[in-house]
């Protein structure tokens, strides 16, 4: 457990941020330790910060970071705390910089089609404001109603409809970041904050996309304004076997229909899991074993034309069109529905409250069937040893930005009965995470499509995945953060400071 922070440091933080925005009370610390599951609640006190600040400006953030450097105190940036790789979980106490108060819309520029915001703003709330101008900010992860723009940059987040509108890294044009040594710089594609494509200098924006708060703290971002879609189309097809569904998924993704936004493949375990809750899922007959869904956005005329092409593929696939009701309901309920704690089941079928762990590799299309087999085997191994783990099935979502073909965000959802954690089950879990990650790498994929790979178990394989790139990561980290104060301990980057 981290020791209490020195009073003199607290005084300095108060001088920078004001008394009302500096916290050292226990509830302030304990309620900023975790992100969604799994969280080792049995070791909660190992993950609390020593102090919390809620700054309101880049200047304040900069001064806090400079103070941390001067005193050798870790800094942990935290936006929504809704990430899925422990990026915002303190490992060494320190000063937690919570950016939620920096949630203003600073400028809406209709001529340049940009909106400039603070990192503490949520995308759904942003889109609510943009609606009156006829725009939306379509960065749409499962956490759309609760994640914040700062975290989207910190994780280089993925959007369900990235095949049409791009992901966080495409929708964020430029941003202001406080470096680990306190300098405030702007990064984008080149110079002007509203330039989308440049070849001037190094492409620094991409360096910081997905840094998990290890290379600085974002204090402002300039984002794309996207016209609010006139129409939406979605279709669901059911198959009596996985391979036909997989083939159809690939065909749809490669259809080159310009309005196509994303395709989703539900494997047999996922469909079986969804049947636990027939009421919301709209009951299907037993022959539905695997499902493919596709969604498209655009003007109504182009959408209808595109839908016809997609439906032709569906009709020829041998699958069964699942009806309009599911299109009206399900498409926008999936992220709400699929991680409900009561969907947990013990071996004897009893309901138990389980956390949702989502493993999110990026897997090339041809490898999906094999990865699915291996991952389910790992989940089965866990379940056999410990009833507290439950296999909630797999999704595969198109992962490419603007072009839905290519690799897939491949997700296995594992229910974890968190109230049962102990050291043995935790260790087994960490091993399983490592094995899941290993499968992804062995099949030419990445450990993570969008969460990041900082968690225990998976992080061990980051050097393997990055190859020579890991040496570059270490060099950059050492140069930008000479005192190792910025979210230290993440990504094995302590190794950057070891003597050769």
């Amino acid at each position: 457990m981290a020791t209490a922070i020195a009073d003199s440091v607290v005084d300095e933080l108060v001088a920078i941020c004001g008394e009302e925005h500096v916290f050292t009370g226990r509830s302030a610390l304990f309620n900023r330790a975790r992100v969604p599951a799994p969280f080792p609640a049995h070791r909660w006190d190992a993950h609390i910060p020593q102090a919390v600040v809620l700054p309101v400006s880049a200047q304040q953030v900069s001064e806090v970071v400079k103070l941390a450097n001067a005193r050798g105190i870790p800094v942990v940036p935290r936006a929504g705390g809704t990430g899925l790789t422990d990026g915002a979980v303190p490992l060494r106490g320190g000063i937690l910089v919570d950016v939620k108060l920096m949630n203003q819309i600073k400028e809406i520029d209709l001529d340049n089609r940009t909106v400039t915001v603070g990192p503490g703003i949520n995308m759904l709330k942003l889109s609510e404001e943009l609606r009156r101008y006829g725009f939306i900010y379509p960065d749409n992860p499962a956490s759309y109603p609760c994640s914040l723009v700062g975290g989207r940059i910190g994780t280089s987040g993925w959007s369900l409809i990235g095949g049409r509108f791009g992901h966080a890294r495409d929708l964020v044009i430029s941003f202001e970041i406080v470096l680990p040594t306190g300098e405030i710089i702007r990064v984008g594609d080149g110079g002007g904050p509203k330039v989308r494509k440049s070849s001037s200098g190094f492409q620094l924006k991409h360096l910081f996309m997905g840094h998990q708060g290890t290379l600085g703290i974002v204090t402002e971002a300039t984002l794309e304004l996207v016209k609010h879609p006139e129409a939406e189309f979605s279709m669901f097809y059911a198959f009596d076997n996985y391979m036909d569904a997989w083939r159809t998924c690939g065909e749809l993704a490669r259809s080159s229909v310009a309005t196509l936004a994303g395709v989703v493949l539900f494997d047999e375990w996922k469909v079986a899991y969804l049947r636990r809750d027939d009421e919301a899922y709209i009951p299907q007959d037993d022959s539905a074993k695997a499902v493919v869904a596709a969604a498209a956005y655009g003007f109504e005329d182009e959408l209808r034309a595109g839908a016809k092409r997609l439906l032709r593929i569906g009709q020829a696939s041998g699958g069964k069109y699942m009806g309009d009701e599911i299109s009206q309901g399900d498409w926008w309920s999936r992220h709400d529905r699929y991680a409900t704690p009561q969907h947990g089941r013990t071996r004897d079928g009893q309901v138990a409250l389980m956390s949702w762990h989502c493993e999110d590799a990026a897997i090339p299309y041809p490898e999906l069937p094999k990865v699915r087999e291996k991952w389910h085997a790992i989940a089965a191994g866990l379940r056999e040893r410990f009833e507290m783990f439950d296999d909630w099935g797999m999704f595969a979502y198109t992962n490419g930005a603007f072009k839905p073909w290519g690799d897939y965000l491949t997700e296995i959802d594992i229910g974890i009965w968190e109230s049962k954690w102990d050291e043995e089950s935790w260790e087994a879990w960490v091993d399983a995470k490592r094995e899941l990650a290993r499968v992804s790498i062995e099949h030419g994929g990445s450990i993570t499509a969008c969460h990041g790979s900082c968690r225990e178990g998976e992080v061990d394989l980051v050097p393997l995945e990055m190859g020579g790139g890991f040496e570059v990561m270490k060099k950059l980290k050492r140069v930008l953060d000479p005192n190792n104060i910025m979210n230290p301990g993440k990504y094995l980057l302590d190794q950057a400071y070891e003597e050769e």
Binding site: P283, R304, L311, Y321, Q350, L353
Partner: protein, 92 residues
């Protein structure tokens, strides 16, 4: 009209739908209460509250659809796929 009468809040006896699903209120499916014996107990939810939840769900989904697009294009069950004018969503 939300007239509250205590005796009207107790749900009728469950009827089986599948081996894990039952129904009590019209159009509302529920988990077999037998599956919530050991680890987590069900709550005592009055009928008016069940109806509130079910209505709110569809209202929410309609709202989310509208947040993302002005209209929904449906394929149309049993008819010429892709044909016909767009239908308004969720008229239940």
């Amino acid at each position: 009209m939300l007239v509250f009468r205590l005796s009207a809040q107790r749900p009728p006896k469950p009827e089986r739908v599948t081996d894990v699903v039952v129904t009590r209120l019209e159009h509302v499916l529920e988990v077999d209460p037998d599956l919530m014996r050991k680890h987590v107990a069900q709550q005592d939810i009055p009928n008016w509250d069940m109806h509130r939840i079910v209505s709110a769900r569809w209202e929410h989904i309609r709202d989310i659809h509208e947040q993302w697009a002005d209209s929904i294009v449906l394929a149309g069950e049993g008819s010429e796929l892709g044909a016909g004018p767009p239908e308004p969503m969720g008229e239940t």
